[in-house]
Amino acid sequence: MRYQLRKIDLESAALGLPTLKPLSIRGAHYDVGIFPLGFEDRCLALADRCVKDNVTIDRKVVVIYPGNAKDNETNWPQLSESLGKIPGNGVERVSVQDMRSWVLNDSHLGESGSRVIVDTSGSSNSLTMRLVWAFLERDVSLTLGFGEAKQYFPLEPATKRPTARGMSGLDVSVEHPGLQSGYSRDSVILVPGFDKDRARKVLNWVDPVLLTSAYDQVTWVLGVPHLKKDRWRVDELRAIHELGDNSPWHNVTLCSTFDYLESWRTLEAIYQDRKSDDRFTLSPMGSKLQAIGSALFCHSRSDVRVVFSLPKSYSTKAYSFGIRRLWQLDFESTQSLRTTVESVDSLEVIDTDSDQVLLSGTERVWQ
């Protein structure tokens, strides 16, 4: 008999994970629906679709952000009206800070198999990552709905208008503080948006030397839009963040904005490359789906610290508008998703003659 030790890599761990598919929820029932209230018009689309497709939701939760409060509230009447038309109980308003404890402590989510739908269209990176973290602590069937905008800002190259106004500071994620210890080099992974200051602020905060000399310790993950006509946006990101050929920042990698698994793979590859020397800080400012990939990556790598660079407010006129299409990601069980995520880098013993797994995790598989 020949036995072999195999390290489970992300590729094999993620084999059974779902991919994005067009939204199809006709007649579905959910125990909980979570709808973040943003200012973009796409944050109304999933609720409207639920009404149209005769979806029922027992409990509807609207997530309230502290920033852009007035702008967000302009969407409230319409969202409220749509949610009112979805059969089920009334609507709760919960602040974004309280969402983690809401998910962790809500008794209705206690039984495994509860069905939850989350509209990520109006969800910030920090809220998306917080929700994924919290649902990995529970066991639910999770549907992440996503409204793709018709137009994303900037609309054309060299648009000067920033997407954010001012900076309110930096927050270390409470869910992903980076359980690190010992001494090591700081390494930063930036998934930037179209705002130079937000990215620079992160580097300055981690270590000002990253702005002036330690360029190899910074990796830029630039989002590639899935529509060909939008691909110029990658060059725009390069221009805004000064990542051209003459730039000292040479670690630049591209990654789809529309594929959470690719995001996860990209981050994992960067991590694997330098994990024995570096202490990682990830700052996600990219797409919603990239944030989902980031959340799964960070769950599998508890030593990675996540830092959110927060603007005082977003510029509502320099943001996306319209709806192109609605999509969904279905995770049948967040506990089995968690097992998958946690299996990355674990060892398994296989019998190479029969290709049978003998031990995986702590479980002896054979009799």
Partner: protein, 849 residues
């Protein structure tokens, strides 16, 4: 059938002895294990197996084989066995019954699935130590166990009565009912898992559990990576490559442990690797490049409570790490023959960047309920205790007690003292008795147990737990702990316990959290003191319970920038040379600082005196000819540093890079290249100010105008005498002195924008706050603010100081608010003053070479 409840109705008669079964412990496909007692009440494990396994031989054969193992303590003795009819069952089926010594303790299977938090690298080492003993015994007796599954390895508890004296669990192998003669046994047949492969499976499962442990250190992670290689060799099918020697297995695991836990030996590849201390994983690297001539080291290497302030990169962390006892213990282990100067204190280093900033950085005043406050005190105290225990663990593991110069000997750290400390921590800190495993340092296991308590506390903080928790440590717990340590280890009488809390600054630890922790930090205690480092004005000195540390009485503030500015030129040069030489030597460069950079000789004046930098700069500014380089050489470069050691390193790095210095270079970099590099770095550091949020642009404006003003004054102000008999020299004015410190600060603090700008100018060391000097008038003190010296080359400004810019508080306010107009006003005011006094500007440049 074998697990039927009817079996406990009456005794089983096995090989002449009656046994009463009491509990069913485990059941498998071929048999079950019961707990039972003999007629004397002795507990035994009784295995009942289907007779299929024993159809060709009586169980007595295993007993005869097992008898060979009686002398080895790592096995549960197999005492008797027989084929017996099962009572009370139809047809009285015959089964094989084996009676073994009872071993109390959890099985490996139980620990992996029910108590995974107990599985850590120390546990793995203890397991390997126990199991390899068993494998060695089997090898020696020519046997194989043949069923070394997860349930057949037990972490045996010590007898309860002896647990306080010797609490260690030892690993034992049970169920010798499948013993085989190794020579007759085919381990390659289908489905066979030999003892070594079982060991590999155990280690794989332990690896998988361990890697999910929160708070796994980078060193632990490296150990697990190395363990993977060892497991692969246990599973190897090639007889040449596979690991089948238990002694070798034990030795490889121990080597992996030592290699990974004592820090990775890293050669410095380039002289300017690791600009900041946090990046140095290897203490040897830190030691090799640490410059003992750091001007403030002498002061800090004492028991005085200190707040060491200075900008990022001023060397605070490097110095704190050098002062930490653990650094020297690990170095002593790695390089035993190297004799090093030892710190005067027993330092315990806690960096705030990871375990405070990341984990409690989000806490604000409104989160600080009574429970949160109590939990923070508990958490912080545990962090400090853990660092002490990690240091003691390093001593325990790396230092031989018989070595008269070793730390274990100096500490008198032995079995007895470590057990006393273990019992103290269990009783007073953990309020729990975590199991200890034999063969591994108790101090290591204790520090791991405290780390688990740290993580539990952190989780309660993260989840804002409001449920009452009993037995939290309070403000006095740390003092009780250190008092006990001093009593147990008299070494601490000679070298006082000092907690070195690095980067305890608002940037890392919020003000309100600092105020809570200050109830521990500023508590005066005979057994320990604290030293903090932080940015200027970033360390809060009062607590939320009214405790305030007074500068000068309870603690001393030590501003690295101010100290550097007051350090003599000779000391500065010595420091700069050592700083660069250490780095060059660490990566085996031939050249040294003086070879590569040379002196700063600007020639002679006509009167035979040496031309100063200020004289040379002024001469060049007023002449139209070719301009020779003036910023070069060690003396000038050394003076660029006003506390910001990292900036000095940047200058060195740029000069050596631009000068194409390689490991073999011994000739000096040209003066022109040196000057270009110095000016480039200066320019970059000034521009970098713009990036600081939110005051960056304003700081940049201020620095630019101040620099221009200094340069302008050098060029236009009349030469001045520094004494009646001295020759007249150019004016160097990089220092603002505001008459009336109190009024100046009040003015600044009255306006939020001004306060923010002023705080950042100090925090980023654009201005260095010198100790309050005497005001020129009255009894008030003056506010003395020195411009950061590394900025000066960008403005062609000199590096010395011979005349302050004396201004009033309202003028200072104007400078901050409108630096361009403010400095212009100062220039024109100085010009008017000169005109009024009919003073003729001395532009005669006689004497300047």
């Amino acid at each position: 059938m074998l697990s039927g409840a009817s079996l406990i109705d009456g005794p089983l008669h096995i090989d002449g002895e009656d046994f009463q079964l009491t509990h069913l412990l485990a059941s498998g496909k071929k048999g079950v294990v019961w707990k039972g007692v003999d007629r004397l009440g002795r507990v035994r494990a009784i295995k009942l197996a289907t007779p299929v396994d024993y159809k060709d031989r009586p169980p007595l054969q295993e007993i005869a084989l097992a008898a060979k193992l009686d002398v080895y303590e790592c096995f549960a003795r197999l005492e008797r066995g027989a084929r017996i009819p099962l009572p009370g069952l139809d047809g009285s089926p015959v089964v094989a019954a084996l009676v073994s010594e009872w071993i109390d303790g959890p099985t490996l299977e139980h620990l992996l699935t029910q108590d995974p938090e107990e599985i850590n690298p120390a546990f793995i080492r203890s397991y390997v130590s126990g199991v390899t003993d068993a494998l060695m015994a089997l090898d020696a007796e020519g046997l194989c166990h043949d069923d070394l599954n997860f349930g057949n390895v037990i972490a045996a508890n010590p007898p309860p009565a002896l647990a306080r004296k010797n609490p260690d669990r030892t690993f034992k192998v049970i169920d010798l009912g499948s013993l085989k003669v190794a020579a007759d046994h085919n381990t390659e047949k289908k489905g066979a898992v030999d003892d070594y492969r079982w060991t590999a499976l155990h280690l794989t499962a332990m690896h998988n559990v361990c890697r999910r442990n929160e708070g796994l250190t980078l060193r632990d992670a490296r150990f697990l990576d190395e363990l993977t290689i060892i497991i692969s060799r246990l599973l190897e099918s090639d007889p040449v490559l596979r690991l089948r020697d238990p002694a070798m297995l034990a030795q490889q695991v121990e080597s992996a442990w030592r290699r990974t836990q004592s820090g990775q030996a890293r050669r410095v590849q380039h002289p300017f690797d690791y600009i900041s201390a946090e990046q140095m994983a290897d203490d040897a690297v830190l030691r090799n490049i640490f410059a003992d001539s750091l001007p403030w080291l002498q002061d800090v290497n004492s028991t005085t409570p200190h707040v060491v302030t200075g900008p990022r990169g001023c060397g605070k962390s490097t110095m704190f790490r050098w002062l930490a006892l653990r650094t020297h213990v690990e170095l002593g282990h790695r390089e035993p023959n190297r004799k090093e100067p030892q710190p005067e204190i027993s330092g315990f280093y806690l960096p705030c960047a990871v375990e405070l900033q990341n984990r409690v950085g989000w806490i604000r005043k409104d989160h600080l309920t009574d429970s949160m406050r109590a939990e923070l005190i508990h958490y912080f105290t545990l962090l400090l205790m853990r660092e002490v225990l990690r240091t003691l663990a390093a001593i325990d593991e790396y230092s031989a007690p018989e070595d008269p110069n070793g730390y274990a000997h100096l500490f008198d750290l032995n079995d007895s003292t470590s057990l006393q400390l273990f019992n103290y921590v269990c009783d007073a800190v953990l309020h729990d008795k975590p199991p200890l495993y034999s063969g591994v340092s108790r101090m290591r296991q204790l520090s791991t147990a405290v780390q688990a308590a740290v993580m539990a506390s952190y989780r309660r903080i993260r989840d804002r737990n409001e449920s009452p928790i009993s037995n939290l440590l309070d403000e006095s717990s740390l003092g009780d702990f250190t008092t006990y340590l001093v009593k147990l280890f008299p070494y601490f009488n000679d070298r006082h316990i000092v907690f070195l809390v690095d980067d305890f600054t608002v940037h890392r630890v919020p003000v309100d959290v600092q105020k809570v922790l200050n109830t521990i930090i500023w508590q005066r205690h005979p057994a320990h003191t604290f030293k903090l480092s932080g940015e200027k004005n970033g360390v809060v000195l009062d607590s939320d319970r009214g405790l305030t540390a007074e500068i000068a009485r309870e603690l001393k503030e030590l501003d690295c920038g101010a100290m550097m500015l007051e350090t003599s030129d000779a000391q500065l040069e010595a420091f700069a040379i050592e700083l660069l030489d250490n780095r060059l030597a660490a990566c085996e460069y031939t050249g040294r600082a003086m070879d590569l950079l040379g002196d700063s000789d600007l020639g002679l004046n006509l009167d035979g005196t040496r031309t100063s930098l200020a004289e040379a700069l002024r001469s060049q500014a007023l002449s139209k000819g070719a301009k020779n380089p003036v910023y070069f050489g060690i003396p000038t470069i050394a003076k660029l540093c006003s506390g910001d050691v990292a900036a000095l390193l940047l200058v060195f790095e740029r000069i050596l890079r631009k000068g194409g210095v390689t490991p073999g270079t011994t000739s000096a970099v040209s003066r022109k290249t040196q000057q270009t590099a110095i000016r480039d770095v200066s320019r970059e550091l000034v521009s970098q100010l713009r990036t600081y949020y939110p005051t960056g642009p304003r700081m940049h404006r201020f620095a630019t105008e101040f620099g221009r003003y200094i340069s302008h004054t050098l060029r236009t102000a009349p030469l001045q005498s520094t004494g009646p008999q001295t020759r007249r020299v150019p004016v160097e004015s990089p220092r603002i002195e505001v008459d009336g410190q109190a009024a100046a600060l009040e003015t600044v603090e009255a306006d939020e924008d001004l306060r923010e700008l002023y705080d950042d100018l100090l925090r980023r060391a654009v201005l260095i706050d010198m100790d309050a000097g005497n005001a020129r008038h009255g009894y008030d003190t003056s506010l003395r603010l020195h411009f950061r010296r590394v900025f000066l080359p960008m403005f062609n400004a000199p590096l010395g100081k011979n005349r302050p810019i004396a201004i009033k508080p309202d003028e200072f306010e104007y400078l901050l608010r409108s630096p361009k107009q403010g400095f212009e006003l100062l220039s024109s005011k100085a010009g008017r003053k000169r005109s009024r006094s009919n003073e003729v500007e001395e532009l005669t440049l006689d004497g300047i070479d």
